[in-house]
Symmetry: C2
Subunit: 413 residues, 2 copies
Amino acid sequence: MSASVSPLAPKSFAEMPAIRGVSMATAAAGIKYKNRTDVLLMVFDQPASVAGVFTRSKCPSAPVDFCRKNLAHGVARGVVVNSGNANAFTGTKGRAATELTAKSAASALNCGEDEIYLASTGVIGEPLDATKFAGVLDDMARDAKGDFWLEAAKAIMTTDTYPKVATRSTEIGGVTVTINGIAKGAGMIAPDMATMLSFVVTDADIAPAALQALLSAGVGPSFNSVTVDSDTSTSDTLMLFATGAAASDGQQRVETADDARLDGFRAALNDLLKDLALQVVRDGEGARKMVEVTVKGAESDAAAKVIALSIANSPLVKTAVAGEDANWGRVVMAVGKAGELADRDRLAIWFGDVRVAVNGERDPDYSEAAATAVMQGEDIPVTVELGLGSGTATVWTCDLTKEYVAINGDYRS
Amino acid sequence: MSASVSPLAPKSFAEMPAIRGVSMATAAAGIKYKNRTDVLLMVFDQPASVAGVFTRSKCPSAPVDFCRKNLAHGVARGVVVNSGNANAFTGTKGRAATELTAKSAASALNCGEDEIYLASTGVIGEPLDATKFAGVLDDMARDAKGDFWLEAAKAIMTTDTYPKVATRSTEIGGVTVTINGIAKGAGMIAPDMATMLSFVVTDADIAPAALQALLSAGVGPSFNSVTVDSDTSTSDTLMLFATGAAASDGQQRVETADDARLDGFRAALNDLLKDLALQVVRDGEGARKMVEVTVKGAESDAAAKVIALSIANSPLVKTAVAGEDANWGRVVMAVGKAGELADRDRLAIWFGDVRVAVNGERDPDYSEAAATAVMQGEDIPVTVELGLGSGTATVWTCDLTKEYVAINGDYRS
């Protein structure tokens, strides 16, 4: 954990209500450090519907493999999350560690191993000693409590400087339901997802297939639109659980994602996912500023996103932001290198409301002072109009600072 | 220009012989700064064969557009290179500036404007005042001399900390010919080519089409295999000129690139291009270490190069190198995010001669001390064996240091 909290941290944390049907506990299992909370157990009283999206890395971690396999089963009774060790690139030892952890958790929760989900974050390539879980999971299962979200968010932090929590409430068929989520960052953050773990739980009663469709659609404009350093982790995991406890209030189970009763839930879920994703960017390693890059007028939404990410991942754009330098020439560079169709002479660029370039050259009314004033803020909106079509995309990133280099040049020691 | 010279700079510069048929001069035209050499004029006594490869940016600079247009003509009489202003994203003003510069140069050299080539490097988006060239080109044409290569290399530097020169000599049909080259870096360096300018001249007599084929083939494993920061410039220009002066020694003109008499020349040219390209990486902004990434056993050479570049461009790999941290887990991450076929459980990784991972997990004989010793050197070889096929690629990069952030966070001021 970093010594100082990101200047972009929220001024206060959301008040997280308990969600009926789920409880949590944390423990210090000594995965990497002594006397440091490093395990989170999430317990569902009854089998909860489950959905998940995972890293697209070709070298995924053992827990990611394990979760993918279990997802077919569709229900969850417990989630075990550890920090300090990613259990990635650990070969057969890694698979054995997931199996042992699942076995310990299933025993503690009196359920099947295929109802357990696992996530690990930390150093890649170190064997994970899963026997350490066995000693703590029984106690955790016994002590788990519902009003524990902020503590849970703290337990999964690695280089994060603040815990990430969000909550929303909405209605399904006239019945109030709640959605809570926690997430961690803070480096190796890129589409598609980075060493980013996030767990979202609702008390709504929604079938697994519908839940998966909602989550798969919701991840695009949220977690898959943030990048800290363009580096995609082996361990990215975003899971959504529905305990179904709202059924006791009369909420009728929803079976398909296109059911109109889910409209409000979908909006609330998407809003919560974006909230958490932006909290991850705002805690990007070494971040001092957040950048919102919007590309309009591209050939397609997909092309717009490629160009937006080219800008957001450019070290030269990100260092210019760090230096409060309205260096829009580097935005031109990043548009040009993206490889998507662009017509230099139709391009226009804004920093905040200040149009700095238009028709392929510097805006005749360009004011360096006005552009610099935008760069001096904490939140830097960059807008690019390509003038070619109607494709749009927005992505979020942070600046690239000396602190990022310091944090990552000395991470393992 | 940076205050301190890269620790990776060559210990001495190559002795650059004169090349018959070409002469050079430099001047201070006041493009951006007063009293600083910022223009290079290269003069060919007779029309020289010309070849060029340029940035693949969709937003190329006006000089790149101008050179591409003139290349069809096939011969060159002069080259004007300036630093301080890239004449990129300058709209119709940019085109007018190239035309005015070419007109001034053609007048000074008494040749056609389509025999002039232009390259500009510096800030993007600032209009270039080409009238400044008019005042100096006549004098430069008069004073140009042949023994001037190191000075020429110095004149085109921007954030480079040392001039980049290389020379080779070889034979064509028993006649000795010489190849000289200069280049500049040092940021916005990525395949395909970056704000990288390089001019190579030989006294060999080779037809334009053959020259272009040699250059197009030679750029792949040299300039297109180096990356400093993954950012591709609007202005990348690599040109090769053949004055044909060796014809006076009896060298018979070579018309096609597949002519066996060019075998030695091709090898010498490729060696020189690689020499210059590595000098560019070794002067990468803030660089303290060079990294040679070799990927073997990929599905294809193209797949190997994508994976090698994913490793070489990863901020987390590059900061680990800066921190002398043998963090091979980040290499796994970069392989995984590349998107090309990879089988985690067949992967092996070496730092230098130290195998750190094999069969999808940490090498059982792994020695942290031995791996760290490799990281403490100036040149860090990283080798990845995918175990899938016979595709290979090697790319070169440098570490990512706080100095890179400092240089680029405050470049324009």
